[in-house]
């Protein structure tokens, strides 16, 4: 230990400052970064005004980071995470869809296995409907009753909208996705079984099923009352009375079209297939060129403003950061873009 004692002298005299300097330089070589994130900007957005829309941001499965944003078209400003601000708690795990009915907002929380009812203006939660397995979409079929499709349960839940409780289930052979109401019947897609189920909203029973092809998850109704179902390899037009397939438009290339939407006048179809495509309901063939090219963006959500006609497209980027939503005019020109939440997937128009 003699060496150490010899060192003591050194340390006290000269070595200490030198060494400190050396270490300082070393530390300074790597610039210290600020890790505290900037607080989000407060925006004065009037939620639920006439010219605006809700964006449901799914968030990541099992992370519980779903949010709903509101976009005010006139000012171009966005209010983020409405639910957290209004209720002081997180919305939940995977917000699959939002539907406004009779002045109430219904948020279908897929992996929280619940439907949250909110006031569309204040976003204060007024009720929670629980007991679902993996709910996807809600369709009010009367003032008192709604259907909720489910990804796991082989059953469509029947919900009492007055009490906000599940009152029963419609047994189905498989999982169900999007659904529409037409002429007193609910038409429900069942992508795993290549079917569209027809349900009587009076008896709450499947009365018929229409065979389509695999992956048919989205369904819309046009101005003539016809139903359109988009499957992995074809687009079908279905007669709502005879339940027969009237027209089949087959995709030739190996594509994955999805998210079929229709405009407010119910005469123009829109869907995603990497790019955004659109097709008139009277067209004789599928569109050959895209309407809005993705150009390296990851188009995940699609919506068409029923009154104003703007097309909203969401880029989910890498699914682990806030997505970008684009607003296009009905001519396909970009009007605006803004940041939404994580995995923006759905649009709900006020």
């Amino acid at each position: 230990m003699k060496r150490i004692s010899a060192f003591q002298l050194n340390l006290h005299k000269a070595a200490l400052p030198q060494l400190t300097m050396a270490l300082m330089c070393l530390v300074a070589l790597v610039s210290c970064r600020k890790d505290k994130p900037e607080p989000p900007e407060e925006t004065a957005v009037v939620v639920g005004n006439s010219g605006g829309l809700y964006i449901t941001n799914e968030g990541n499965f099992q992370w519980g980071n779903a949010t709903v944003s509101y976009y005010d078209v006139a000012t171009g400003s966005v209010a983020e995470d409405l639910f957290q601000h209004a209720n002081g708690s997180s919305l939940g795990d995977v917000c699959q869809s939002m539907t406004i009915f009779n002045g109430k907002g219904y948020l279908v929380m897929n992996n929280s296995n619940k439907v949250v009812v909110v006031d569309p203006q204040s976003f204060v939660s007024t009720a929670t409907i629980t007991g679902f397995d993996s709910p996807r979409y809600i369709l009010p079929v009367s003032n008192a009753k709604a259907y909720v499709t489910d990804f796991h349960a082989n059953s469509i839940a029947v919900v009492d909208l007055a009490n906000n409780t599940i009152t029963g289930g419609i047994p189905c052979p498989s999982a169900t996705e999007e659904l529409v109401l037409a002429y007193g019947k609910a038409f429900v897609t069942a992508p795993q079984r290549n079917k569209v189920y027809v349900i009587s909203t009076v008896t709450d029973q499947i009365t018929d099923s229409i065979t389509v092809s695999a992956g048919g998850a989205s369904i819309v109704q046009d101005m003539n009352g016809k139903l359109w179902v988009l499957c992995n390899n074809a687009l079908y037009r279905i007669d709502p009375f005879s339940h027969g397939v009237e027209a089949t438009f087959s995709f030739t290339a190996a594509t994955s079209p999805w998210r079929l939407r229709i405009n407010g006048t119910h005469d123009m179809l829109y869907f995603l297939d990497t790019d955004v495509y659109r097709m008139s309901i009277t067209a004789a063939a599928l569109p050959t060129s895209s309407f809005i090219p993705a150009s390296g963006r990851n188009f995940y959500g699609l919506g068409v403003d029923p009154t104003e006609g703007s097309i909203y497209v969401a880029d989910a980027i890498d699914y682990v950061q806030r997505g970008v939503v684009y607003r296009y005019g009905s001519d396909g020109s970009e009007r605006a873009n803004f940041l939404a939440g994580i995995v923006p997937g759905g649009f709900c128009f006020n």
Partner: protein, 638 residues
């Protein structure tokens, strides 16, 4: 001012280890066996050896808790008893290799190891090697390497060690080990059993808030450990190790998920055999390990469980040759054969990797300069994967100041899941590859009975072809997407002194890690130059240990900074600081028996925190335990 603060913090930095500086009672007898490789003494390498006193403290816990509390590793824990993986120096879980007796025990399917399934008891020596050592250990040893060794002793007589503990949330642990060690034979058998409900409170007790408890989080684990060693002559030893364990646990959902009913069963059998021959000029080791993992995951009672099976067979031959007085050569071959079958890999898939590695060491005549060069070439299914090599050196500038430098070329081959998972597996993936470097200084002084050891390290690492799973049109698929630049400064300082019969140990450890993606993956990608998710930029540990006669008290405070939960760093989790207290008392020995009592309080200030988003961790918890040790030394025949 900022610089001043930095230099001050650089001075206050710390490590808790440091066997040299602080006289821990090393209970392990002098080993005549050498740990695999020579990583521990590789010039330029930074190592942190968990001291034996600390190891005893964590004997009944899992490796995840030990590493989170005592090392600079960030452990991504889903909760008590739940999945725990590491992030070290800004890497992902795949970038930390876990080696048990020299064998990589990471799953060949996902390249990771769930640290909550590794009882600390499986090793009597735990060390963490910082930085890249792929030249020594092969694929994946990029951010760091966890070295678990169960080293045998000899002529130690008979030891029996039995422990029992009870803790909050229905935590009960029992552990037992008996060992006999003679001149020729050493035989040991151990068993452990842990059960816990883990039904901790997930919200604070408040008048207006109904109390909620964590649900579906129970944990049950039992296992057997055995090893036997036989020596003959003065030069040869053979040994076998066996590690069997069964874990049955429920998997809690996040606070925002619906009721989880999921569960998982993990069955593991690890068998190894090794032979060591110590010649006059060379020491040769041959070892083979057989590792079988079976995992059964069920979402609920109705759905059929998803079963995954994997098997790794690793064979290795290495020899260490003393070429001349100051020159040492180390060469070896390794063959790793992995096999996997699961719901995601419906057809059995195999992967064979062969490697040739060599290291050369030089020590200068005055012992002040040491250097090494090592290289490794691996063949993956007969194809050449990136050549890897490393250079390291240290130089004692002064008796009290050691300078270290290390540089390496690193790689990680894709896992079986990356390649073959259905759907999505991408057989065209390339190996991740890159460079890493460290510069460090170790200050080691003692004056007036105060021993100070302080180490500061600056590291840089750039990895290309970073594999990332991303969603495609129909399913997720891995691609060589990102380029990740990780850099940072780590400090480790310990101070030890005695005041009469009171021994005091102080440790401080700080880590600043910046790990950013440098590659834009699409037009709107805002993740460029942003910190990777779940890599805290700042972490720190402070520890104070006081011993007085047979009583020892240890307090630990650790800080974890912001963790981002989105790649654009807009979403984040708040930092947290936790404090733990541990008290132990050893009763006076009665004949050959020693009884020790310990009590522990975790998260003393009942801090509410989440390591991962919406995965609450327990508030205050307690544990009490008793341990009996019996030792009858070997009778020596004259």
């Amino acid at each position: 001012m900022k610089r001043l603060l930095l230099s001050v913090s650089a001075w206050c930095m710390g490590t808790f280890l440091c066997g040299q500086a602080l006289s821990d009672t090393v209970q392990l007898k002098a080993f005549e066996v050498v740990a695999p490789r020579i990583a521990a003494t590789l010039p330029g390498a930074k190592m942190m050896v968990v001291d034996s006193a600390t190891l005893i403290r964590y004997r009944t816990t899992d490796l995840g808790q030990l590493l989170a509390n005592e090392t600079p590793m960030f452990v991504k824990s889903y909760g008590l008893g739940s999945l725990a993986t590491t992030s070290f120096r800004g890497g992902s879980a795949n970038h930390t290799a876990v080696l048990w007796n020299g064998f990589n025990i990471g799953s060949p399917m996902n390249g990771q190891l769930d640290l909550s399934l590794v009882p600390v008891q499986v090793a009597n020596s735990v060390a963490v090697a910082y930085g890249s050592s792929t030249a020594l250990w092969g694929s994946g040893a990029i951010g760091g390497t966890i070295l678990l060794n169960d080293l045998p002793c000899s002529n130690d007589g008979t030891r029996v060690d039995a422990g029992l503990s009870f803790g909050s949330f229905g935590d009960q642990r029992q552990q037992f080990r008996v060992q006999h060690s003679g001149a020729k034979w050493t035989v040991a058998i151990g068993a452990f059993n842990t059960t816990a409900e883990n039904d901790f409170r997930i919200n604070k007790e408040a008048v207006d808030e109904p109390m909620q408890r964590q649900r579906n989080a129970s944990f049950a684990q039992h296992g057997l450990l055995g090893d036997a060693h036989y020596r003959w002559g003065r030069k040869d030893r053979i040994g076998i190790h066996a590690w069997y364990q069964q874990t049955d646990r429920q998997i809690p959902g996040s606070t925002l998920e619906g009721n989880s009913t999921a569960g998982q069963m993990d069955g593991t059998l690890r068998l190894t055999a090794d032979w060591q021959h110590t010649g006059t000029r060379a020491t040769t080791n041959a070892r083979i390990g057989w590792f079988n993992d079976e995992l059964e995951y069920y979402a609920n009672d109705v759905v059929q469980a998803a079963v995954s099976r994997s098997r790794n067979v690793i064979a290795e031959l290495e020899t260490r040759i003393h070429l001349a007085k100051r020159h040492q050569l180390h060469i070896g071959v390794n063959n790793t054969h992995a096999l996997a079958l699961s719901d995601g890999i419906p057809r059995e898939q195999q992967q064979n990797r062969s490697a040739l590695f060599a290291a050369y060491r030089y020590t200068s005549a005055n012992n002040r300069f040491r250097s090494s060069i090592s290289a490794r070439q691996e063949l993956l299914e007969g194809d050449v994967v990136p050549f890897t090599c490393s250079l390291g050196a240290d130089y004692a500038l002064r008796p009290w100041l050691l300078l270290k430098a290390q540089g390496a070329k690193v790689y990680r081959v894709p896992t079986l899941n990356d390649l073959y998972w259905r759907p999505g597996g991408n057989p065209d993936l390339r190996a991740e590859n890159g460079y890493s470097g460290d510069l460090g200084a170790v200050l080691h002084v003692s004056f007036k009975g105060i021993v100070i050891r302080s180490e500061i390290t600056w590291f840089e690492r750039l990895i290309d072809d970073w594999i990332q799973w991303t969603p495609g049109p129909a399913y997720w698929s891995p691609h060589n997407l990102l380029q990740v630049w990780s850099r940072g400064v780590e400090t480790n300082t310990s101070v030890g002194f005695s005041l009469g019969s009171v021994g005091v140990k102080l440790g401080l450890m700080t880590n600043h890690v910046v790990s950013t993606n440098e590659m834009r993956t699409s037009v709107n990608d805002a993740s460029v130059d942003k910190q990777l998710i779940y890599v805290p930029m700042y972490t720190g540990h402070a520890k104070l240990g006081v011993t007085y006669k047979a009583l020892s008290v240890t307090g630990l405070v650790r800080y974890t900074g912001y963790r981002y939960t989105s790649t654009d760093n807009r979403e984040y989790l708040e930092p947290f600081t936790l404090a733990d207290l541990w008290v132990a008392y050893r009763l006076p020995p009665l004949k050959s028996c020693t009884l020790s009592l310990q009590a522990q309080c975790n998260n003393i200030f009942a801090t509410r925190y989440e390591v991962l988003l919406n995965r609450p961790m327990p508030f205050r918890s307690y544990q009490v335990g008793v341990n009996v040790q019996f030792h009858r030394p070997e009778r020596r025949t004259p």
